[in-house]
Symmetry: D3
Subunit: 194 residues, 6 copies
């Protein structure tokens, strides 16, 4: 397969020509199709700025896919979803609810997180993580060191705190890419793993 042009019409508020790929972004898009079967609209739009797209993709993979140790997949996706629900970002809520369904096999539980994580069944460690990223999303200027106490008390290590914060920060980035550009959600994740 070879991707020379990526459609960018009607997938955001922007009036853009279709994107001509560079060798690096061509590979990125090909990998995306191979891995998940489609190109995410956010990445199609960012394709207009290859350097930004490549850095975003590297950051996303660094935080949610490729590293070992630290937070498990359920915790990583919980952070993604809690942040994205707070910011009410359609593409990210749909995408990460799907991943959390895939990991947990529990669509009902995930559906609860999509409304209000405070009412969902969470372990103390998960709850401490969720509360921290909620506060960091809503009011970063009020976060203080003592807010870390519940994380440390439930066994989150210093290294894992960096992960928690970096994942939450990343979704505050990607949510705003989507909300600021009016990126339409891809339908595939919404329908999967139910």
């Amino acid at each position: 397969m070879s991707i020379k042009n990526v459609k960018t019409k009607n997938i955001s508020w922007l009036k853009l020509k279709n994107t001509t790929t560079t060798p690096e972004t061509e590979k990125l898009f090909e990998d995306s199709i191979e891995t998940r079967g489609f190109i995410r609209n956010m990445q199609a739009v960012l394709g207009q700025f290859p350097a930004v797209l490549l850095a975003q993709d590297a950051l996303s993979r660094a935080l949610t896919v490729e590293y070992e140790g630290g937070l498990n997949g359920k915790e990583r996706e919980l952070i993604a979803l809690v942040v994205s629900v707070q910011n009410r970002c359609r593409p990210c809520v749909w995408g990460h609810a799907a991943k959390l369904r895939q990991i947990t096999g529990d669509a009902l539980w995930v559906g609860g997180i999509e409304v209000n994580y405070r009412d969902a069944e969470l372990s103390p460690r998960e709850r401490a993580i969720a509360d921290y990223v909620q506060k960091l999303t809503e009011a970063p200027e009020t976060v203080e060191e003592h807010d870390l106490a519940p994380l440390r008390a439930s066994g989150v290590t210093e290294q894992e705190i960096i992960e928690v914060v970096a994942i939450a920060a990343y979704f505050n980035f990607s949510n705003r890419i989507n909300s600021g550009l009016g990126v339409q959600p891809n339908p595939e994740p919404f329908l999967s793993f139910r």
Copy 2:
């Protein structure tokens, strides 16, 4: 110069061992010292996760340094500062106020942005940009396509809208890395270009 260890003690809330570099992060830190004379504390902390650090650095450079065309440097740094002031992030406010002083040579004007961009003298185009990123920072869920009208009316192109949004989104990321980890600001930028 060769950087094998990067100090991470007392530069954040975290109790971390000093960071051992990888070849890639070693180069990044060496470049940082060469370019700006010091290592930013945020990057020192992220050095614990080389893949995240490298992606963050690539994203930062992609948005604020390396690309051509589109927004000028003053506009890019204005976005950085407006977002960081709203999020009350010390390292980012100090760092990007310094860059804006360097670009404009007008410490007084920058000092006004540090308090309230609404009271500062801005061109209609700058004001439209500032208003958009302020709203995207405070309440991303309420941003709608009609909010883009003032940008388009003042000559911001579709390509430039992506830049505006991506830079604003990036600082909503980096502000939260700093605020979530309690990263101490480096003093150098505070003192420079006055």
Copy 3:
């Protein structure tokens, strides 16, 4: 079938004995099982106060089921969902998303409303309704007569304005019954009409 006792254990935060029905509430619960196959947890809890349950049920039916003319079913359920999403009420979001899926046959569209109605495809009339009930939910003290202009401009009649307001007001009631008592959602609606 005859319902003499309704289970109220582990369906809310309250430590309650199971509810003994009165003839009227017995009939209500029997009808509920006949119509939807289960008893909603909110009604099971309210069964402790028969007069409140009967009035709540009458109000609910008056607003969403039984009347003729005025708003169509899609509009009624749109109001229910927009209000319940704002208040982040799990039982109501699940229940009324299901009804909206049933009416529209469009799970994807409903899934968009569940995140952010501002990004969903709505007719001008639907959008005017959604904006009004959003404001009435978030900040009732700021609603003024001029806020009705978009509704009137899109053909909402004076009679229908009463419906819009009454439905929105009712869900601000039922959301708070659920959130104030920690009522657990019934799982059935979550799974239906997908």
Copy 4:
């Protein structure tokens, strides 16, 4: 007395014909005049939808008048007033301040609640109730089971918690009927029991 038509002009923002009663609403209006000497404007407007009016009236009576046991009258009206003050609803503030003056005979104390219940003299039980309904009104999505601890500690029973929540929820309904329709307050309660 026989009420065939209820005036609905100039008592709200709506341009409505006067309401023709049904036998049930005729009785309701006649009872209202007999009991309190006038028809509340909210009920006059809701008279356009007999089923809604009848259900609203039943709910209101179920919560504030007719039941025995549980919260006393002062507590019930305190909830009504705290919620209505927060929502800044003129008809409800005036109406329930009057009832609280009638019950307590202490216009000064009631006048304090009308400004800020936090500064008024309340028993620990009353204060716990007031704090709970304030939070449930302002931010229902943040209410959690541990917020019930002060109520339970001050002797509020599980049954009474349902009352507290139902009354608070009901006024979040009726406040929004008034605020969403621009219902004018009746003057009589404002002037009574001083």
Copy 5:
């Protein structure tokens, strides 16, 4: 009459000795008793710092009593009340509602302002003034020159704008003296001019 000591016990949260007057504050307190029949608790507490009390009293009189021309008394007291209602300050709401009753002779209208000025009958000029001081109270950082347009359009002069702002600013001062020190309201104004 000679006032050498002013009672400060049980009129605020503070544990203070009674205040010994200076010749200047003695005169101030004597004038207060002569004019209104009592000493306002806020002034009794501030009597501990004679210079602050004298300046506060001079500022208060300069803004609400002594000047000629400009805003009329109803407008001045409207500002006082709108600001104090927003800040939910008991002594100021009671005091300035009384003055507005005295000026207008319309307790019902004043009672409406005490709940929500948006629902009260105001002239366009009064409404423009009320909206401006409401915004200046809630979110001073967002006030911009274009917010003055409705005032200017309704005939408020440049000189009068200073009055509007100074009165609103003053009550943001006095409200916080009361709220920060827990000053108890004097009962007299609550009961007067009804």
Copy 6:
């Protein structure tokens, strides 16, 4: 030197004639030039209402300059700056950051307060004071007596609590004078004591 006219053009949003002094305001302006070398724009504008200017000046001096005992200068200016940063008032932030630089000789520390006092190094006493005035500024209606506990615990006396509150209240006044009138900041303080 004799000041008969004070320039008021282009120092605020107002279209004002230059101000003719009275003997009292002439002295005030002369003293200002003698003491600090310039006339503050806020005072130039208030010069239009001599009684208000004189009272404001007396209040300002009573709180920040002339009294003995109680809070030290650093604490007084810390309050001024914390409040003014929250209200995002340019003239007051610039002016009181300068005074705090003068007192502490530590521009870096002051620069931290200008972004977020929560991240700055404060003694427990200073932190208790800062938290109290932050809350009193943001949400005066929620301040309660128990919020005073940290102040009392760190040695703030009852007399000093009056100072804390009065200074915070005063800057909620002066911030709104500036923000409501669009007063331009004087540049001198911004540049001094660095």
